[in-house]
């Protein structure tokens, strides 16, 4: 079944940033169409609209038989649209068969499940598409590939004709990916319409018939794959930009940095088939900002957890000031002078229901008590001081969750900076910040590094990395593929390395 999308727009929040901007696409029956784009290009929003979980502000889409009522999951399901999610919903306590048929069980009479019928139907599909899954085994024993297969099995059981695969290879090994591609080809032969979401260009060119590039909510190009070159697509995804100037940066470029402070030596970690790090070697000196970038799911989160002491590496060592800190937990790292500003600020960075003052004194409340009783006046005085130094809004007694994202980030950062750390590990610092708070934050980080503090900046935002870092390392598929001085790099090179197209160190 073919799918026609016309003029779909969607803004978050209403009237705000356009996640989808007048998107029109024609998808043919029996083709695999790739939709590629950077994080935040609007791919997910578009797919959620197709699935009916997000209502578009304007525009419509239709299959060849009938228009689809937007914003209703049931409507999209009836039209035969289905998505294989990156992390499919499932029930671990049920068997595979039960997961597949839940909600649409064949029955004998009105009350009984017709298990034989269900099994027969599902097994026929399994045979047709070579989906190997033991229907009797509990879902809790499946790996991520099998869980995706289970969702696909459900969609085929429901006879969906338009299948969306949301970054299906993000959590697959090379072998698993090959398997998946063979199946996609089989589905294409059956006349299914397939949408393949990915930012791995190699695969896209390997498997897809057509490619559509999305950036900032717009479809920039939609052509047959053999009319396009990978370089061309990469350039479109990243956007051709003039070399940006760095207004926030006050430190001199190419300066020699102080003595080596922190070092990762052959660090490796294996969490699952898809989440791993291999042989990470990095070091950072006093007053240096080391930017570590990459597309999410390539190991950034894992590296953050390891450096923050939340998990310990399976291989390799971490050294700080000449001491082995591979087995040190967060509290010990803090005592040694390492501060941590997490990416997941709301859960890890603050206590959401506590006040601004309480969040600010979390690290140094010991200086504000008399015989175990906190002194409100000294807390208030200190909080006011910090709030005016870092221009943080709000009354000290206000719950912190009333603050904006930018102010919450300032609370966390000021709390960490007041500890006068030697090293700050800061991850995705400008997530959820508007343009001005972002610039202010960058200036603060620049000043801090200027005072001799080492900063490990983990960010998937290329512009942020480029404007702040002295040296840049790029993670791809769990390994560092590129590491150079910032002055030797440009935006395109980093973008290509993030996609696995360029290496060098």
């Amino acid at each position: 079944m073919s799918l026609k999308i016309s003029g779909i727009s969607k803004s978050f929040p209403p009237g705000g940033v356009k996640a989808c901007d007048d998107v029109s696409l024609q998808l043919k029956c029996g083709t695999i169409t790739a939709i590629v784009g950077e994080n935040g290009a609007g791919k997910s929003t578009l797919m959620n609209i197709l699935c009916g979980t997000v209502t578009p502000d304007s525009g419509h889409f239709s299959t060849e038989s009938a228009p689809v009522v937007p914003g209703r999951p049931a409507g999209s399901a009836e039209a035969g649209i289905g998505m294989v999610h990156q992390h499919p919903m499932r029930s671990s306590s049920l068997t595979v068969l039960e997961n597949v048929i839940l909600g649409y069980e064949p029955r004998t009479g009105i009350f009984l499940t017709d298990r034989a019928e269900a099994r027969k139907k599902v097994m026929a599909i399994q045979e047709e598409y070579g989906i190997e899954l033991d229907l009797k085994s509990p879902c809790s024993e499946l790996n991520s590939l099998q869980i995706q297969n289970m969702e696909l099995l459900h969609l085929l059981y429901m006879n969906r004709k338009i299948l969306i695969f949301d970054e299906p290879t993000a959590s697959l090994t090379e072998m698993g990916a090959e398997h998946l591609f063979a199946r996609l080809k089989r589905l294409r032969e059956e006349g299914k319409t397939i949408i393949f979401i990915s930012h791995k260009l190699k695969e896209v060119f390997q498997i897809c018939d057509e490619i559509a590039v999305m950036r900032k909510g717009k479809i920039l190009i939609h052509k047959a794959a053999d009319e396009l070159k990978p370089e061309e697509v990469a350039a479109l995804m990243m956007g051709r930009r003039e070399d940006i100037n760095f207004p926030e940066r006050k430190r001199p470029e190419g300066r020699k940095h102080g003595k080596r402070l922190y070092r990762l030596q052959g660090v490796g970690y294996r969490k699952s088939e898809s989440r791993f790090l291999r042989n990470i070697n990095l070091n950072i000196g006093e007053g240096e900002i080391l930017g570590i970038t990459g597309i999410r799911e390539n190991g950034l989160e894992l590296l953050e957890d390891i450096m923050a002491g939340m998990v310990h590496p399976h291989e390799g060592k971490l050294h700080f000031n000449g001491r082995d800190v591979s087995r040190s937990g967060p509290a010990e790292l803090r005592r040694m002078g390492i501060s941590y500003v997490p990416a997941d600020r709301l859960n890890r960075g603050i206590s959401r229901d506590s006040s601004i003052a309480e969040n600010l004194i979390l690290l140094n409340y010991k200086r504000m008590h008399k015989m175990g009783i906190l002194i409100p006046s000294s807390i208030k005085k200190w909080t006011k001081e910090i709030q005016s130094t870092y221009s943080i809004d709000g009354e000290p007694q206000q719950p912190i969750r009333h603050l904006s994202g930018g102010n919450i980030q300032k609370v966390i950062l000021s709390r960490e900076l007041e500890e006068k750390p030697d090293l700050i590990i800061i991850s995705e610092p400008s997530w959820g910040l508007d343009f001005n708070s972002r610039n202010r934050l960058h200036r603060e980080l620049d000043r801090t590094a200027g005072r001799g503090t080492a900063i490990l900046l983990i960010s998937s935002d290329i512009d942020e990395i480029l404007s702040l870092s002295d040296r840049i390392a790029v993670l791809y598929n769990g390994a560092i593929v590129l590491e150079k001085e910032r002055t030797d790099l440009n935006r395109t090179q980093i973008g290509r390395a993030m996609l696995g197209l360029e290496t060098g160190r």
Partner: protein
Amino acid sequence: MIGKALIFMVPLLIAAMGGLITELAGVLNIALEGMILAGAFAAVVAVDLTGSLAAGFLAAMTASGLMAVLFSVTSLRLKGNIFVTGLAINLITPPLIAMVSKLLYGSGGVIRLSSGTLNLSQAESLLWLLFFTGAIWFVLRYTPLGLRIRTAGTDPDFLFSRGIKPAGIQSLVIILSGILCGISGAMISLKLGVFIPGISAGKGWIALVAVYLGFKKPFPVLLSCFIFAIAESLSDAAQGIIEIPANLILSFPYFMTITGLVLFSIAKKRKQ
């Protein structure tokens, strides 16, 4: 003694099955106790008025079912905290009974039936035990409803994504548990031929413990109910023989409950 325990455990097991299905659907059902009491009272009143045992059971199922409707509306529809609403059911039932009893009989106390008590033989008891356990096991395992009950508890969002409202399943299951508690309560009071305030004597709580102790599976729950029933009949038998204060002997089943809970949590920790 085992025979006595069998007769004794029928109401306990039926309530436990009600607790089991709600627990599986993700509802902390602490209202079992109150619903049993409501059933016990309604049964005695109905038998007193009509003289028919069937009417007694029907009235008990209706009364407890209505309490369950109240419980489900307040906790699911009105989104009250389920612990508070469940506790409210337990707290509101005794005074409600006292009020109705005062209106009907002029006293809020004991109601004695002149005729029409329920006599269960050991064989009949065994049959009922197996019937209720087997029926619940069958529904959970072999019907779409059972599948949905199990998913409502562990993965409600997943169930919702398949077009089924978890809250709908949960209220259905709460009402079912109310009906089961009605049967349970009717059995308790009609067997004795009398209603005494507080006659449920913690059966609802013990049933809930039996659910956890039986790893939320029907037949293991049957087994843990049996252990509690043995404990209860042991304390009955010991009253005349051993020279221990009667109160201490009567507390034996509750002591067993606490021991059971501790053993359960130890076993669970070991498993992890």
